[in-house]
Every structure is written in C-alpha cells, then in structure tokens.
Symmetry: C2
C-alpha cells in the first residue's frame, strides 16, 4: 500500500465544486465525517476512534463502480462508507484507488467496527482461558489477540464483516444522491447498497485475494502430494461455508474406504459379478435347509446391508465432526436471527417482538401461505414436467425404433438419436427456467434471514436437480425392473458424468484462463497494487458451491441407492474424489474471483439431503435385492413363494429402517466435550441475565 493515494487525498480537497448546491453537499459531507480524528493510512478515510488508527491498512473489499459514475457520486459513497454508524454510515475505511475519478473503491475496516460486528454476528473466539466464548465487545480485553485484527479475525471474517456493514447501510432520511437523477432519491430506511446496485452505480462488490496467503494456502493444499487438507487455513482464507464443503469432501472421501475395500473384495471373491447368476444356478443343487443360508448371503446382500448401515453411521459421525469444526471455527453460536433482516426483506415497519428494534416485519403465516399455495404447487409442476419429459422420451424412443425396424434407412438411423437429443435439450432448458423460477419464488417467500433464504432456494433447486438425475434410474429399477440395464446405466453415468464434470469444471476454465483471459492480465512484480486488484475484476465470479454439493449428493445417491448392483461404485468414487479435492481447490484458488462467505455452523440443507437419501437407500436396496436373480433362484429352490419373499424383503426393510432410526438417535449429534462447551456458553449468558439489575437494558 506504499504507493496508494499519491495523486489525491480523496477527501474534501481538490475537485473544486462549481455550483452552490455542490458546495452545500460538500459541507454536509464534511459534517458527516466531522468526528474523524486522524488518518488511518495514506489515502484512506479517517477513523473516528483513536484505537483504530494504524499505519498499515489492508484493503479487504473492492467496489467496482459503473463507468459513467460521476466523481461527486463516488465521493458521496466514500464518505458514506467512512461515516460513523450514528451518522448513518458504515464506519469502514474507504480508498478511492489511483485517483478520485477511477472506477474502483477499496474498502477496509477499522478495529472497533470489526470487533462490534464480530459481537453482532455472534462469533466465538478464544478466551484467555483457552475456551471458545461468544465474543463480547465490552469484555474484549479477555479475548486472545483482540488487539491484532489479523490474528483475531480471519481474512474471510473481516471481508464478510465489510460486506455485512455495506449491505446494512440504510438511509436515515430522504436523501438525494449527488450526480444521480432524481428518480434515484433514497427514501427513509431504503437499503442504500441495493439501490446503488440497481441504479448501476455499483457494478460489483467482491473480496480481494491476498497474494501471499493465497500462495501459502495453495502450496499446502494442492501443489504437493499431501493427503490432509489445511482446513483451518481454508476456513481462514475462504470462510466457513467453503471450509465446510471441503471438510465434508475430505470426510466423505475417507469414509469411502470401507465400502471401497468391501466392493473390491466382493468383486475379487465372487469372480465376475455378471456371471454370478449362472454360477448360482449350476452350483446350488442342494436346496436343503442347512445350505440355505450359505449361498443366499451373496456379495449383493453383504454390499447392500453394509452400505445401508454405513450411510447412517457416516452421516452421524459427520454431524459430530461438523459440530467440532463449528466450535473450532467459532461459528457455533451465530446470532443471525437476532440481527437486522437481510437487504431484500420487506414488510411493514414495526417493533420486532424478539429484539425490540424497529424493522420491517412480515407475518410468518403469510410466508407459510405463500409457500403452501405458490411454491409447492409450482415446484410440483416442474417435477411433473420432468416426468412428462421422460415419458415422452420413452414414447419417442419406442416410436423411432419401430420406424427404424420398418424403414432401416440412413434417415431412420439418424432419427434414432432424435429422442435423446430432444430430451437432453428439454431437460437443460427446463432446469435453466427452473433455477430462475426458484429464485423468484424464494424472493417472493420473503425470508428474513439470508441463511433461511439460501436454505429454501437450495432446497428447491436440490429437489428438482435430484429428481432430474435419478428419475431415469428409479424408473429402470422400479418399473422396468431391469437390473442389467440399471447396472450398465450406473457404470456409464459414474464414469461419464465424472469425466464431464471434471472437464467442464476445471479443464475448460483453466484453458480459458490460460489462453484467453489470462494473457490480458499478465502482471509483473512492479505493477502498482491497484492494478493487481483491478486484474481480479476480470476473473469470472465464483459460481457457488451448489454444483459441488449436488455432485457429491448424486455420487452418494449412486453409492447408497444402487451400489448393490455395481460393487465397484465406491472404488470409482474414491478415485474420483481424490482428484476432485485437488481440482476443486485449484479452481477456487486460481480460476475465480474470491467469493464472500458468511460464517455458518454446518452444511445446512445439504446435511438433511444426505440423511434423507440414506433412508431412501434402504427402500431401494431392499427392492433391488428382491430383484436380484440369484436370490430369486435360491428362494424358488427353497420353496418360497414370491409373496413370502416380498414379505421377507418388507420385513428386512422395516428392521433396517428401525436400526437406522435407532442408530441416529443413539449416536449423539455432537461430541460430549462440545455439548459441555455449548452448555457453558448458555449457562454464562443465563448467569449474566440474572446478574443484570438494570431493567432498562432488557
């Protein structure tokens, strides 16, 4: 930051306003920042509190302005960012970049703002006793490192706090923004940042990479041959939502070892799985009682039983791991529901009965009504469209094959591909439309918290995507009851989709970066810092973790739902995931702009999705076992009617579901020591409430 602010001070000086209205504006601006005590760093706005003064200011977030934004608008924004919260500002630090007319603003945060926001977010930090405690601003001196922000808060947390403060900016009265037409006048309590974005003043707000930290991280993460991921550094650099994804990927990959070993040994011992049926017919010639249990316990059954119980144990252990990670990363006690509502939330102004603050309120029943009467039917409609598409595809395929048999020409040969092509394009179109619809539906549901918004959005897209992926497989398994086809399909899906995913996710962005967009932003050591930051604008925005999670979920689906037909699933997935960890890490470090990441306590809705899948897997596995030709053969020889066999399968299914339910109840969701720490935090706050004698503070 040595070169910064060379040209202009960025503050009140220069620009020499012409008209009287501009002068009045300037005076007002100066009144806004009147309480500033001293400069925090060259070119940065001033801070109002002595403890926040520091020589070195680290730019955290970059705001990209529209090209036509006038200098007075930029100055207004910079002053707004720097003003204290009492004056309606964000109490952050702003820097105008190279000069006052450039199209970027760099934002950083002083110590007090960071600490107050850490308290507001409900972050837990290391207390002097070594335990993690909910951070309290008044008690800040007892927290470790609370004087050194770079050690106290992670980079991701600091950047999230900046975004949080910017997003929370609200007009305190009706204000005209200088340099903008009158149509953009701010009403009282309007969200300023949203308004500026929709007016085209602000094009983008994104966190900046820290080259040194990034280099260290990538060396520890994917450059070498290391097996363990540096999860704490990932959490520090990219934030807990990204870190939770990679932790889960890690945990999941290692959890694949037992089923992979089992799958390998079953394939090895049973020779070839495909010839199994033939063998059983020729060898099982003694249908007496003692022999019955021997051959009936085939590789299929072992695999199925194992994978059904494995999935529950895996999920329960992950929950425990997730709880300890959230304790370690200080996100176990987040206070989002007590904070201000998310920017997009609207409603009638009123007093929040929980916090006693004046804010927009929206009745719960109205949201429920909207979900029940609008969202659910619309989602159902789209699911029906998927089924319709599939039906048309099968119908079309039958028609085309019929035609081909009749004609047998080149034309009909080409026509054979038509249904598949139509179906694929239909599916793609549908899912594009659906994503937009899901977004507006969730907007319409008007959730108060950002996390609730994301949860509902993810759930909607998730249900659809999952249905889209698995409808065909379920159709083959349950209606066609064609195990060989299912096996073929599953193997091809596993190999093809994974290859395609790796290519589209990593190889293509890598090539684009290397040969098309990369050369334009080749940078040398001597470039000014601003240019390096500016280069990050040219990187594509990070597409979010949805695609990554859904990939894992679909994998997990293949594994738990249909693994008994193809025992090598786990092996393939294990190999895939070992490369996936590296490619995902490379992707997020190098190929995209750094994403904002809110502190989260767990995987949210994804955890539920995995759990639901693990229960559905019991039904599908029992069904597939029932279809298994070998088992049918054995039962027929044992003199069992197909009704009795079905009854047996149903019984086994019920028992397995019971075991899974019992397992998931018996294994606690958080380790004992975490429970004690959590209860200690609860106890402390209860004690504090009792100590409190001042009724006004309630």
């Amino acid at each position: 930051m040595s070169k910064a602010g060379g040209g202009e001070s960025g503050e009140g000086g220069g620009a020499g306003g012409g008209s009287s209205s501009e002068k009045a504006q300037q005076q007002e601006d100066e009144a806004l920042t009147g309480k500033a005590l001293s400069a925090a760093g060259p070119g940065w706005t001033k801070v109002s509190c002595p403890c926040c003064v520091s020589e070195r200011v680290e730019p955290l977030v970059l705001v990209k302005l529209g090209e036509k934004v006038r200098p007075e608008t930029k100055r207004w924004i910079i002053r707004l960012i720097g003003a204290t919260q009492k004056d309606g500002g964000a109490a952050l630090l702003a820097h105008p970049g190279e000069d006052a007319s450039g199209d970027i603003i760099m934002v950083s945060a002083p110590r007090c703002t960071l600490l107050r926001a850490a308290e507001e977010l409900g972050l837990c930090k290391a207390y002097h006793t070594g335990d993690m405690e909910a951070f309290s601003y008044n008690d800040r001196d007892n927290f470790k490192d609370s004087d050194n922000m770079e050690a106290f808060l992670t980079l991701a947390e600091r950047q999230h706090i900046v975004k949080h403060e910017l997003d929370g900016l609200r007009a305190q009265r009706d204000v005209r923004i200088p340099g903008l037409p009158d149509s953009c006048t701010l009403q009282n309590r309007d969200n300023i940042w949203q308004k500026l974005c929709s007016a085209g003043v602000i094009l983008d707000t994104f966190p900046l990479h820290n080259a040194n930290q990034l280099k260290e991280l990538s060396e520890a993460w994917y450059s070498g041959n290391q097996l363990a991921q540096p999860l704490d550094s990932v959490n520090g650099y990219f934030g807990s939502s990204v870190a939770f994804y990679f932790s889960f990927l890690d945990f999941y990959t290692w959890s694949l070892l037992p089923p992979a070993i089992l799958g390998l040994s079953i394939t090895y011992f049973s020779g070839s799985a495909q010839e199994e049926m033939v063998e059983s017919v020729s060898s099982a010639k003694h249908p007496n009682d003692e022999d019955d249990s021997g051959p009936a316990v085939s590789g299929h059954m072992i695999q199925a039983m194992f994978s059904m119980l494995w999935s529950t144990v895996f999920m329960e252990l992950w929950k425990r791991r997730s709880a300890s990670l959230s304790y370690r990363w200080g996100t176990m006690h987040l206070a989002e529901r007590f904070a201000e509502p998310r920017p997009g939330f609207h409603g009638q102004l009123g007093v929040n009965p929980v916090t006693g603050r004046v804010e927009p309120l929206f009745p719960e029943w109205q949201r429920d009504l909207r979900m029940a009467l609008v969202s659910v039917p619309v989602v159902g409609l789209f699911l029906a469209l998927v089924v319709l598409g599939m039906t048309c595809f099968y119908w079309g395929e039958a028609q085309v094959q019929h035609l081909h048999k009749d004609w047998d020409s080149m034309l009909s040969q080409v026509l054979l591909y038509l249904p598949s092509v139509l179906h694929i394009s239909y599916t793609n179109m549908l899912s594009t439309v659906y994503r937009k619809v899901a977004l507006s539906l969730t907007e319409y549901e008007n959730h108060r918290e950002q996390s609730a918004f994301e949860k509902h959005l993810t759930a909607k897209v998730l249900v659809f995507t999952f249905f889209n992926y698995f409808a065909v497989l379920f159709h083959i398994a349950f209606f066609k009851q064609d195990v060989p086809l299912l096996r073929k399909r599953l193997a091809s899906l596993l190999i093809v989709t994974q290859l395609v995913n790796q290519v589209t996710e990593v190889v293509i962005p890598f090539l684009v970066d290397r040969f098309i967009s990369g050369p334009q932003r080749r940078e040398s050591e001597d470039d000014p810092q601003e240019d390096k930051f500016r280069n990050q604008i040219t990187l594509p925005a990070f597409p979010g973790l949805f695609a990554e999670y859904i990939e894992l979920l679909v994998q997990f689906g293949y594994l738990s739902l249909f693994s008994c037909v193809y025992p090598l699933t786990a092996v393939l997935l294990l190999i895939n995931n070992l490369t996936e960890i590296r490619s995902d890490a490379y992707k997020i470090c190098k190929l995209f702009r750094k994403p904002f990441s809110a502190p989260v306590a767990n995987m949210g809705v994804w955890q539920i999705a995995f759990e639901v899948l693990s229960f559905v897997s019991v039904v599908s596995n029992c069904w597939l076992l029932l279809l298994s030709p070998r088992l049918q053969e054995i039962c027929r020889e044992g003199g069992m009617s197909s009704t009795n066999m079905l009854m047996l399968a149903v019984l086994v299914e019920h028992v397995l579901i019971l075991i899974k339910v019992v397992l998931s109840v018996v294994i606690p969701d958080e380790p004992d020591w975490i429970r004690k720490k959590r209860e200690h935090i609860e106890y402390s706050s209860m004690q504090a409430l009792k100590q409190q004698t001042d009724p006004a503070a309630l």
Copy 2:
C-alpha cells in the same frame, strides 16, 4: 396456625440438657442460628432477613419422623432447616408441631429462599410488561406480585422448592448427628436428607393439602357437570406434571370426537361390520374396472386411513398446545441441567465444566457403556421372557385342549383354565420383578438430573408394559392373521380392562377410604390444625402418574393400531375418558396424600411414546387392511395376484409414512407467538452477556 407453638418455643429453650456434651451441642446449635433476626410466626424458627418476616406462616411440607427419634435429633433437624445456606442449612422455616417431642416437623419457606430458588429452578414469571420472563432475583421488583409469595408462586411450586432445598442439604464437614449411633456420622458432602431417611429418622416428607383451595378446586373440577377442567388451578395446586397429564387427557378426549363420529357413521352405514364380507361377496358381481374403486373403499379403509393421519395431526397439535401451556405455567426455560445434581447421583468430585461448581462428576461414556452393556441386555432378557411366557401359554393351551378332547372329564374342564391362570400369574410376577430391576438399573446408570432419571426409568417400564399388553394382539394380527379373533379380543379388552381399571383405581380406594381408614381420621372443625395435618399421614401415598399415562397409551394403541377392525373403539374410549377425567380428579384430590410435583415443560418421554405408536400404527393398519377379507375378495375378482396386492399395500404404507413425516415436519412444534417469546428470552440473556464487563462473573 393460631394454636401452634403454645407449649414450647421449639428453639434452644426448655429441654434443659443434662450432660455437658448436650450443652456444647446446644451452643453449637445457637451459633448456627445466631444470625436469626426475628421470629416469623409463633413456634416457627427465626428468619435471618428482615424482608421475610411475616405474621402468618403457611405450613407447606410435613416431615414425619420415626417413633424412636430422640428430641435432640429433632431439635438438630429443626435447626438445620432453619439455618442459612451459608451455614449449611436450608434457609427454611421449621415448626415442631404440638411439642418438641412429637413425631412431626412442619416446614415452610421465607420469601427470600423462595425467590432465590425460583431463579435457580429457572421458572418464568409475569414481568411488569405482561410477558413471561425468566425470573431473576436481582430484578425481582419488576416482576408482578413478587412481594406476595402466595400469588407469585403457586402452592405446588412453593412445596417443590421446600423439597428441593431439603433434598439439597449437604454436610459441610464431618458431623455427628446428636441422638444417633456413631454409624450414622455424616461425611463431608454427604446428602443429609438421604442419610436421615436411610437411618430411619425421617419416615416421610410430603406436601400438605390446603383445605380451602382443595375444596374450591374440587368444586370446579369434578363436582358439577362442567365440561372444561380448571387446568390453571390444577397446575397451581398440584404442579405442572399433574396438570400436563390432565391437559393431555382433556386434549386427547376431545380429539377423539372426529374418529368417534366417523366410527359411528361407518357402523351405521355399513350395517353390521361383521356381515360386511358376506355382503360384499353377494353384491359385487360385476368385477369390471369402473366398479373396482367403488366397493374397494370400504369402511375399514376409510377408518384406517383416517386414524393414521389423525394420530399425527393430533400429536402435532398437542405439541403446540403443550408449548403454550408450558409458557403459561412458566416452565419453558427450566434450568435443571445447570442446577445441583439429584441426591442419588454419585461420582468423583471435580469442577463441572459447564457451571464451574465443585460437584460429583460422572463421565458420560461410562453411563453410555452401562446402558449399552447392562440395561439394554437386561431389558431385552425380560422382553424375551414375555415372549417365552406367551409361547408356553399357547403350547399349554393346545396341550390342555388336546387332553380335554381325549378325557372330557370334570378335571380336564378345570384344567382348561390352568394355562390362563398360570400365564396371568407369571405375567404379574414378571412385571413386579421387572419394576424393581428397572429401578435399580436406572439407579446404576447414575443420571445427573432427576428428569433424566425419571425419563430412563419410565422408558424402561414403558417398553416392557407396552410389550406385555400388545404382544398377544400383535401375535394374533401378524402370525395367526385372524381378524375375527383380533376383533373379539380387542372389544373384550376395551370393555373389560377399562371397567377393571376404573374399579381398581377409584372404587376400591374409595371404599377403603370410606369404610376402613376413613373413620379413624374423622375430623371436626374444632380439631387443632396439627391433627388435621397428622390425619393426612394416614392417607396412602399417591402412586404416581405412570399407571394413568400407560392406560392412555394402551388406549391410544388400541385405537391407532387396530381401530380398523373395530370401528367403535373411539366411541368407547370417548365415553371412558369422560368418566376417567372425573374419577382421576376425584382420586388425586381425595383418596391420596398430595404428591410433590416438579415443574416440567412437557410430558417428557410419554410424548415420544405416543409418537412412536402413531408411526407403528401405519404398519399395523396397512397389514390389517391387507388381511381384510373384503379387500382380498375384491382384488381376487379384479384379477390382482396376492403379490401385487402386497406390493400395493407396501406402497400405500410408504406413502402414508412419508405423509406423516412431512406433516410432522411441516406443522411447527410451537405456535409462532411462543417461538417469538422464547427467542426474546434467549436474546435478552445474550444481550446481558454482552453488557457484562466483569470477567470474574463468568
């Protein structure tokens, strides 16, 4: 209390100790109560704080001493009760009854002790704003009625607090109890009350009835023809655990209306359910497709579908009702896990990581190990014994009938009853043994909280009792597959067990009370108060709510598991419950000693039992529908194979379970307004923690 303390002051005076050791004891006693400021009422021990002085003291709890207890021991106990908590006492008020040598001690509580205990228990009380807030001693002036204990705390709460304080008495150093052999010396941290009970000094501790309140309550509860129960008064007089039982009984009874009306109309419209099959055979002569859906939707099916969904909706609505009751009664924020462990808890002394207090600790994993390796196998063994008994019974019955056929004499006629008699006595014996075993198993598991102890004990007894009741019915339904027998059995069980229950629960105690024990304690208005209290000792102890709850659970089981075979179940249960409410109310008011009742936030383990039952009901109903002769007939005519029918039933079952799961997730467990109040309490305590600057208080 006008007559009380006429003879003796109960304090240090009188008795004129002979030996020097007794004198030293007396001096020590006086030192203990040295800080007492003034007498609270005639004959009562003195209170140490000026605000607690009051003219009238209401006796809350009666302690019955052993007959051989010497006056010095009694004096020691009275002083212990009256001493401040700093001196190791209970900070309560004690009264020696008629004279210092009598075998009762009456205990009451001063204001400060009540208020501090209310805070410790985590009771919520009405704040000056009208909301319920967690009571805080420091903030007491802002709570309504906090100067009038009889309005602020209910009678049941005051009595529970007295018990809580007495149970919590621990020796602060090694102490010899005067008048007892040396073997009864108290070690440091020994639980004094437990020790005194096991030494035979204290025979019983029970809360006293308040004649006026009881009269008012009984008039509003069961004397008239009122339909609604005075639940708030029940909560005030008997405490929330009793009140929750009666609220549930009330809610459940009214919830029976829809299934009762449905059952009545089905019985009316379908003529006689027994002749249904015959009709369907003779009328359904057109097995074409259009007709298929018509007759297939029989009364059975409607009843079954309805009862499966009804049970989930009923339980979800009850949870909401339960949440509002717990808010209303101030028990939504209980702090038992932060309080001292229950008296029977033992472990190595250590620092509790949650509260930071020194107390016995017992590692969680050791408890889990004990449960997994001891409790679960033992419970399993007893369940196996039930099954064994049933098997022997069926075998014996077959043998005896075989004999009877061969011999056909008077002897064999008598022998026919032998298996039943043996089975019944075996079952009774088994359940008596099991109750003892369950108690010691739960003791052995060493739970820290009383509620956890009771939860585990109830769960153990519950599983066994339920198994005992339903094993035969499940056997008939699933193995014998004999619907007519099931119907016969169910009808007789419904009518016979309910009659038997009513007789054993109410009529016999009533007769005993009226003709045997009652005349001994006939009392007149002029009797001294002490004699009236003494009379309550002769009443039998209240046997607890277990039998009441299990009765409801078994009823609910009959209704939800097997209702489709006997549509009038709900009607019979409705009639039964309307009388049950009155007889239970009469019983608890008149026939037994008043029970202690800890504040609870819900029905605890019973809620889970009802929910589990409601899920099992789907499985059993689907199965019974499958067995229904009419449905089988229709399917056979429709050309469905039995395999397909079974598959259809399994499909329906899965869909219904899915619907139930979705319903129970979608219907929130607490009403919206309760959620807001709860979050407000959480928010307040979080805010308080942030305000707190004193690190020592953490």
